[in-house]
């Protein structure tokens, strides 16, 4: 369970988070919606332990992140967290397999090739990222994140750089893997349609939560609008 209370974060004179509180249950799929500059990426950074908040408390699977030092936060991310970024951030000089091992080696996961197969890239193990399409690169990023068996997966606009067809495919993969593995998933997006796939939708504006609702009926990646 992730529980944040009264989070405050500023950059220079700009307040990115202004006294924000939030709870996300274990295994839940939450989408954080908001326009550019609403503070959603900052919230993701703070909840995942990439950055420290200036004020407030965060409890993540029983650990108080706001009390941890840099070394403990690194250890926390190592054990608990996986990331998928909009720009993939694959290591360009390493093959698909070694990029996935970036995640797998952290958790001692020897069965990482199953995950590569699950995202449909088993025949491209030796390819470099530049030899792959955008959708394939994002699938490598998904495999890399899941190969470390995270308890919480953070996604920052995972389909932002993809076309509709590939975007739907990627969302379908992610949703399927979430269902099968049961990890908590927090996705930041400005695409309102993706919110229809989530259990919980958090709307942000100007560093504050302006609404939270639960979807009574969830849609698949191929049913949502684009």
């Amino acid at each position: 369970m992730i529980k944040a209370e009264n989070l405050v974060k500023s950059y220079g004179g700009t307040e990115a988070l202004r006294g924000l509180s939030l709870e996300i249950a274990d295994g839940e799929f939450a989408v954080i919606l908001g326009a550019s500059g609403s503070g959603k990426s900052t919230l993701l950074s703070v909840l995942s332990g990439l950055e420290k908040a200036d004020g407030g408390t965060i409890e993540c699977n029983g650990v108080r992140l706001d009390t941890l030092g840099d070394r403990e936060l690194t250890l926390f991310r190592k054990k608990e967290v996986g990331f998928i970024f909009q720009q993939y951030y694959l290591l360009p000089h390493l093959s698909v397999e070694k990029n996935v091992r970036l995640g797998a080696d952290l958790s001692g996961n020897k069965n990482y090739r199953e995950i590569i197969a699950a995202v449909g890239l088993e025949d491209k193990l030796d390819r470099k990222p530049s030899a792959l399409s955008g959708g394939e690169q994002q699938r490598v990023a998904i495999a890399r994140a899941l190969a470390k068996n995270p308890r919480i997966l953070f996604l920052d606009e995972p389909t932002g750089a993809l076309d509709e067809k590939t975007g739907r495919e990627v969302l379908d993969y992610i949703a399927g893997l979430h269902k099968a593995r049961g990890f908590t998933m927090i996705m930041v997006t400005h695409n309102l349609n993706i919110a229809d796939m989530a259990e919980t939708v958090v709307k942000m504006n100007s560093g504050k939560i302006v609404g939270i609702y639960k979807n009574t009926e969830r849609k698949s990646a191929y049913e949502i609008g684009w």
């Binding site: 990331f83 951030y89 093959s95 091992r101 970036l102 080696d105 952290l106």
Partner: protein, 378 residues
């Protein structure tokens, strides 16, 4: 204009290397040109020393100028490659808009500015300390040697290297920009190949990262080795020459060695860390420790540092033996020279400490890299 004079002046490392090369060449070649016409006036008993001094001047100028000149060119080409790789998208847009390859490449001539600045300062510095050098290279039988300004040296040591390096920059850029616009726009640099990893398939991520960082930036291994070579050779030479030359000359060699070592080491390591910022930040985000990040990026270069140090020790010993046994062979009263073991160990200790300090500096730099700053880049 894509590349401005600002980019040309940025290459302080190249300026410093050129400064060192031209600094030494200026007083050595000027000395040679001033002493050469005095040959007929030298008494017979001093002619061996006279010839040896002339040989020392040409030998030192050739070694210093040749080696450092080559290093400056390698550094320049390396920097231009980094520049093109880092600005592939912008260069691609300009090419896509219809600018010819030749026109874009022509702008790379500004990189010759760093060479010009270094050479000009080196020439001035060489002149400023020329009297001290002349006094150290006195020849019995001749009084004080008059310092004459040789305009041909100004052209050979300042203008010619500037023109040559500007030409090399343009030519290299012309060929490097031959890539299709689509590749440049996608930020692709160089040929991509599918790698068959064979027996190394089971190598861990960190071992692979370390190896691939090294093989992806082979030229940096050369710079690291060269930096340690300079440190080892010139510090040991500077400290071992007390019986062979004046103290001033010894300190000068020592100072040039340290400056060259520091410049090349920082240039190599800075580009290494800069080129890996995204990779390091992703590793940090996923939970790799600072030590693991640093080792995977910097660790592969340590053996090259040691090789450079060893080669530098052998080089300085060989060079001094060569000078004593070949150049000064006919001159009497030249002291014996043997490998200076205490100086070797002192230099080794200083080297280990300095290398550790540089590594620590970059580890702290890596510690400041956050994934947030990489995310906000896009």
């Amino acid at each position: 204009m894509i590349i401005g004079p600002k980019d040309g002046f940025k290459l302080a490392g190249i300026s410093i290397v050129c400064f060192c090369a031209v600094y030494v060449c200026t007083f050595m070649l000027n000395y040679y040109l001033d002493v050469l016409p005095l040959g007929d006036t030298i008494p017979e008993q001093f002619s061996a020393l006279y010839k040896a001094q002339l040989a020392t001047a040409t030998f030192t100028a050739a070694i210093t100028g040749g080696v450092l000149g080559l290093i400056a060119v390698v550094m320049l080409v390396f920097y231009i490659k980094l520049y093109i790789d880092g600005h592939a998208k912008q260069l691609g847009i300009i090419k896509a808009l219809g600018q010819t390859r030749g026109r874009i490449a022509a702008e790379f001539c500004v990189f010759g500015l760093s060479v010009f600045v270094g050479c000009l300062l080196g020439f001035g510095g060489g002149w400023a300390s020329m009297r001290v050098i002349y006094d150290g290279l006195t020849i019995e039988g001749i009084g004080e040697i008059a310092m004459t300004f040789h305009v041909e040296l100004l052209f050979a040591l300042v203008f010619a290297p500037t023109a040559v390096t500007a030409l090399i920059s343009v030519t290299y850029a012309y060929f490097a920009l031959a890539r299709p616009v689509s590749e440049l726009l996608r930020g692709k640099c160089g040929k991509e190949k599918i790698e068959r990893e064979g027996k190394n398939k089971d190598r861990s991520f960190l071992a692979e990262m370390c190896l691939k960082t090294l093989t992806a930036k082979k030229s940096l291994a050369f710079f690291v080795a060269f930096s340690c070579f300079c440190f080892s050779a010139m510090v040991q030479m500077g400290l071992s020459m007390e019986n062979l030359t004046t103290a001033t000359m010894g300190y000068m060699i020592l100072a040039i060695g340290i400056v060259l070592a520091v410049v090349t080491m920082f240039m190599a390591t800075t580009s290494l860390v800069r080129g890996n910022i995204k990779n390091i930040s992703v590793m940090k985000a996923f939970g790799y420790s600072l030590r693991e990040c640093a080792v995977s990026v910097l660790g592969g270069y340590a053996p090259f540092a040691l090789i450079g140090f060893g080669a530098g020790s052998a080089y300085q010993y060989g060079l001094l033996q060569l000078m004593i046994n070949v150049i000064f062979a006919d001159v009497g009263s030249v002291p014996e020279y043997s490998f200076n073991v205490p100086v070797f160990f002192i230099t080794l200790a200083a080297f280990v400490l300095s290398y550790a300090a540089v590594t620590l500096y970059y580890v702290l730099k890596i510690n400041r890299i956050t994934v947030k700053e990489v995310m906000t880049e896009n």
